[in-house]
């Protein structure tokens, strides 16, 4: 397999809510993912769905007659695990109360919102000192597991 490998510029960012966002030559494309009967499915529009092969990690992408290097330029930003500054739903729930808005200062342990899940109210607390970078939810909104609710921009080390 002495074949010249080509580079292919395609950035991927894993967003909360089973979404991946690709950037290729400046254009962004969203890819939605779902699991059905133990198989992975994808959709570009959430209407038409097709099977996603269970690919292992290989060093090359193979196209019809060319091979492309899998660059490691993209990094998983966590559907299942976020950084300390990302507040992600661990189970499906409903937003009961939102205490903070974008630009607010927070400190570790401070309650940011209350999420009702499994008939219990849970105080969701900031995992880091910093400033609220984005709020992706509204009060009363029902959320699936893995949804990124609030992002906190951490203060410098």
């Amino acid at each position: 397999m002495n074949q010249e490998m080509k580079d292919f510029a395609l950035d991927v960012e894993v967003l909360p809510g089973k979404v991946m966002e690709f950037t290729h030559e400046g254009a962004k494309t969203k890819l939605f993912l779902r699991v059905l009967a133990g198989k992975n499915y994808y959709s570009f529009d959430q209407v038409a769905w097709k099977k996603l092969p269970a690919l292992g990690v290989n060093e090359a992408l193979v196209s019809n007659s060319e091979m492309y290097k899998v660059f490691r330029g993209y990094k998983p930003s966590g559907l299942n695990k976020g950084g300390a500054g990302s507040l992600i739903t661990q189970m499906p729930g409903k937003v009961v109360k939102l205490y903070k808005k974008e630009g607010d200062k927070v400190s570790i342990g401070e309650t940011v919102l209350i999420l009702e899940a499994m008939k219990m109210e849970n105080e969701i607390k900031a995992g880091a000192d910093g400033i609220i970078k984005s709020v992706n939810i509204k009060e009363g909104q029902a959320l699936e597991a893995g949804f990124l609710m609030v992002e906190i921009e951490e203060k410098g080390e």
Partner: protein, 478 residues
Amino acid sequence: MKGKRVLIINRGEIAIRVAKALNELGLVSVGVWTDNETEPPHLEYCQEWVHLSGNNNKETYLDIPKIMKLIEDFKIDGVHPGYGFLSENREFSEALAKKGITFIGPNPTAVYKMGAKDISKQIAKEAGVPVVPGSVGEVATVEEAIQIGNEIGFPILLKAVAGGGGKGMRPCANESEVRANFAAVQREALSSFGYAALLVEKYILNPHHIEVQILADKKGNVFHVFERECSIQRRHQKIIEEAPSPFIGTDEVTRKAICETAVKCARAVNYDSAGTVEFIMGHDKQFYFLEMNTRIQVEHPITEEITGVDLLANMIKAAFGEPLDFKSQEDIKIQGHAIELRICAEDPITMLPAPGKIVGFETTFPQGIRFDHCIYPKFAITPDFDPMIGKLIAKGFNREVALRKIRNAVDGLIIDGIKTNIALHKVILDEESFKNGQYSTSYIGTVKPQEKVAIKEDIKAFMLKVAAIEVNQMGGIK
């Protein structure tokens, strides 16, 4: 026959197919694994697994003494060779016969007679089977070549006696072309093969490769299971096959003639197993004997699909002296149409083998698709073995339906991590000349569907691959 222990001395999809038939018939399927393929998928279907030590085919699937030792050690009653490897090896079938082991294939004499090209042609001729007309022996002068040309009809092919691989061969449409080319071909023959002698043969322009499936038992019954057309070839290897032949079409006279001729060939060598008689057919529907393959063939499933005859099971029954599933030729009928695509680990444009490791494999097929394969995620295709990894087969009520189904099926076949000829198959299936069934063995060379394969897949295809890798890294979609 029940309970007999049968060693499958093969691998890949055909080993799976054989094991399925053995299990179904109540025999014990014994599979082998080798040191250069320690996790072969065919073992999944085998009831017993034995180790055939060695790192290359010469030390394993082709090592007759070693295989004979296995047969003794594991009390084997019969051997199925599949295709390739020792399937048409007279020495092997004789060694088995000496030990009283059943070889699931024809008797050694039939293998020998049909194995040698010159002998098989002679036998065919004697049996009254047409062979490509031409000179008897070497042709020394231009005048002699022209005289033969006038006898058998132009165009003719000037061919080096020692020729091969397309070298030292030139077609001539008439007398003046023979005069112009004779000396040149002689020179070419001398420089390429060191021997200037020439042969003259009738040149069949854009021929069709049509073969007839034979099924015979040990009691002297010889049946044909109709024909297959295998004209889509590259490097003289088939990649798409159909049954029945779209070229013969509704011409039942030709169909009957070619099928009965094949039976005649098989009878001439006392054939007693599954086998195939290959012919080339010109545009005038004249056909000539090419060779007989004394084994089960890769493309046997399309015949099974259109006739309902289980070729493997009947081949096994015949070998053990059991009656076949049917009694007369009239029991075998064509119903519908079947198309097979050979799925190979190869570059779809250059058509050269491209080994690698499969990392993703998914299928979403329409109703009634058959996929004989040995693919699983993480399956490594090594240069040690043939790059064919599966056969996608669609059967339809008629050719139109079969085409529709196979086109949809190939869309639903996803193999990732290696190059495959799937993209080439899609191009061919979309070609008008294929769809209307008007193609010959020169199809790949003249229509050049490989040039229409898009090199780069669209950006979305890449996104999916990256997404799949990402999902894998995360341990699934959460």
